[in-house]
């Protein structure tokens, strides 16, 4: 028996209601303490500004989304062959893993100005920063996944005389897929941060750029609107990958 409609509705409504209450508390305390909008704008003020600046916000969101997605997809394209190489070949593992770990350990914010210096003011330096920020979680999870095939299944394939290629196609790749998606979900939220880092250092467009100039001009409500959009973008990308995962990895309960 399912719960009565009214109580199911109440269960579904609880979490949005909490969020709404928090927003109302924010609104009321800003008004009550008369906080100036350039320090902390009320949600209503942010909403009004967002509507007013809607075309600019939309345009800059598209720029950031494009940088994020292109960088993220290139990071996947780079990680796939590297993971296969490292998972299958111990020499490659000993040679490449320290380099990749070193690359991951360099603070990306620190090298961002250098990358801009080398690659100029186009979208490419931002894309490169996105790649640097998000390739590692994809790579590490993919390697772990490619090595996660259970021994019993490997025995089965070996007992059939399966080639390495066949074992890879029929066993290692399906086993690796859930791990790969875990890496992608972590990486895509990093990717958004990567775009913003790039836009902070040098850019003429993008949500990061918009935050930088609006705060420098005390347009705090606009900065808040841009931050809210970045957050929504990140959440949407995360759920987008989860949606794809549910359709591709449809065998896990």
């Amino acid at each position: 028996m399912s719960a009565p409609f009214s109580s199911r509705l109440a269960g579904r409504a609880t979490i949005p209601a909490v969020y709404l209450a928090l927003l109302i508390a924010w609104e009321l305390s800003v008004r009550f303490f008369a906080v100036p909008a350039w320090i902390l704008p009320a949600p209503s003020e942010i909403g009004r500004t967002a509507l007013q600046w809607a075309p600019e916000l939309a345009l800059n969101s598209l720029v950031t989304l494009r940088e994020t997605l292109v960088g993220f997809l290139l990071a996947i394209a780079l990680s796939l062959p590297l993971a296969v190489l490292i998972a299958l070949n111990t020499t490659a593992r000993r040679l490449l893993y320290p380099i990749l770990l070193g690359l991951q350990s360099v603070p990306k914010v620190a090298v961002a100005p250098l990358i801009i210096l080398w690659l100029g003011l186009s979208e490419w330096p931002k894309i490169v920063i996105v790649i640097l920020v998000c390739f590692f979680p994809i790579l590490v999870n993919l390697i772990a996944g490619l090595e996660a095939a259970p021994r019993t299944m490997l025995d089965l394939m070996r007992s059939l005389g399966a080639s390495q290629h066949m074992i890879f196609r029929r066993l290692r790749i399906p086993v690796a897929l859930p791990h790969f998606f875990t890496g992608c979900k972590v990486a895509v939220t990093f990717a958004v941060i990567g775009s913003v880092i790039g836009e902070f250092v040098a850019a003429q467009e993008g949500l990061g750029y918009l935050i930088l100039i609006s705060t420098s001009q005390s347009q705090t409500p606009l900065a808040f609107a841009a931050i809210a959009l970045l957050t929504l973008l990140s959440i949407a990308l995360f759920h987008g990958i989860e949606w794809i995962e549910r359709r591709v990895v449809d065998w896990t309960p």
């Binding site: 019993t152 299944m153 005389g161 029929r170 065998w251 896990t252």
Partner: protein, 271 residues
């Protein structure tokens, strides 16, 4: 449950004097902790005549699974010689089908795709393999579940599907590594009888590893009893019970006699 094996009749039997498996003086060690080595098995002699059903029973940890892995070609012995149908056994062969203790079905494939795995690996003609897979599923009562994922099936059904997969490439030799060990007693007996009928219809050679004495007697022509580690063959029983075997077979006094004799050897109670 077992229908007539139409179209699945046995290939003409090979020369009877060549054993399916002939193992001589084989032993196996595994590396233990701190550079020591654990003597797991042997030396063992084992002959599986073509067309017979041979079982090995023994306590857990006696190395009987190691013996099966050696016979399957999944591992190499430290000493001794191994022959399969008269040629040296040094790698797995498509002439051998294996049913593992766990079903080892791929959860990302349907039951039919799982059963067809050997056909994909061996690049067998697609249409014929599919037809044979569907017929095997029919014989084991799984036809309605061909397009289901294995995780939708009960334990007994999964093991039936694993048996279908092992039989798909028409192996001359079937290796069974405690195939019903993970199932409840009722399903185990049901599946044992099914396997017995299937084996008789197909006329294949089979080698069973189990810790279940009744299962070994019910299915086999010969039962070998293994000692605790390092595993050696301690006794060799000819099972002279009539075939076909059925649910009444365990009630025969000869069955109970054999069971008691084997138990006595395993528990070292023979005078």
């Amino acid at each position: 449950m077992i229908a007539a094996a139409g179209g699945l009749a046995a290939a003409p039997p090979p020369a009877a004097d060549v054993a399916a498996i002939d193992v001589r003086g084989v032993s196996k060690h595994y590396p233990g902790s701190a550079g020591t080595s654990v003597h797991a098995l042997g030396p063992i002699d084992l002959r599986i005549p073509t067309g017979s059903f041979v079982a090995v029973v023994g306590p857990s940890g006696c190395g009987k699974s190691t013996l099966l892995r050696l016979v399957a070609g999944l591992e190499r012995p430290d000493a001794g010689t191994m022959m399969r149908y008269g040629t040296p056994l040094d790698a797995p062969s498509h002439e051998v089908g294996i049913v593992f203790q766990e079903h080892v079905l791929f959860p990302w494939n349907t039951v039919l795709e799982n059963v067809l795995l050997p056909a994909d690996v061996l690049a067998l003609p697609r249409a014929a393999a599919r037809e044979r897979a569907l017929r095997l599923l029919e014989m084991t009562g799984l036809a309605a579940f061909a397009d289901h994922r294995p995780q939708m099936l009960s334990g007994g059904m999964r093991q039936r599907a694993a048996l279908c997969r092992a039989l798909l490439a028409d192996p001359r030799l079937l290796l069974l590594d405690e195939p019903f060990g993970a199932l409840d007693a009722l399903t185990r007996e049901e599946l044992s009888l099914e396997l017995s009928g299937l084996w008789q219809d197909l006329g294949r050679t089979a080698f069973l590893i189990t810790h279940d004495i009744e299962e070994a007697i019910l299915l086999s022509d010969r039962v070998l009893v293994m000692s605790p580690r390092p595993g050696r063959i301690r006794a060799d029983f000819e099972i002279d019970l009539p075939r076909p075997r059925n649910a009444d077979t365990p009630r025969l006094s000869r069955f109970q006699e054999l069971k008691q004799e084997i138990r006595d050897i395993i528990f070292d109670r023979r005078a």
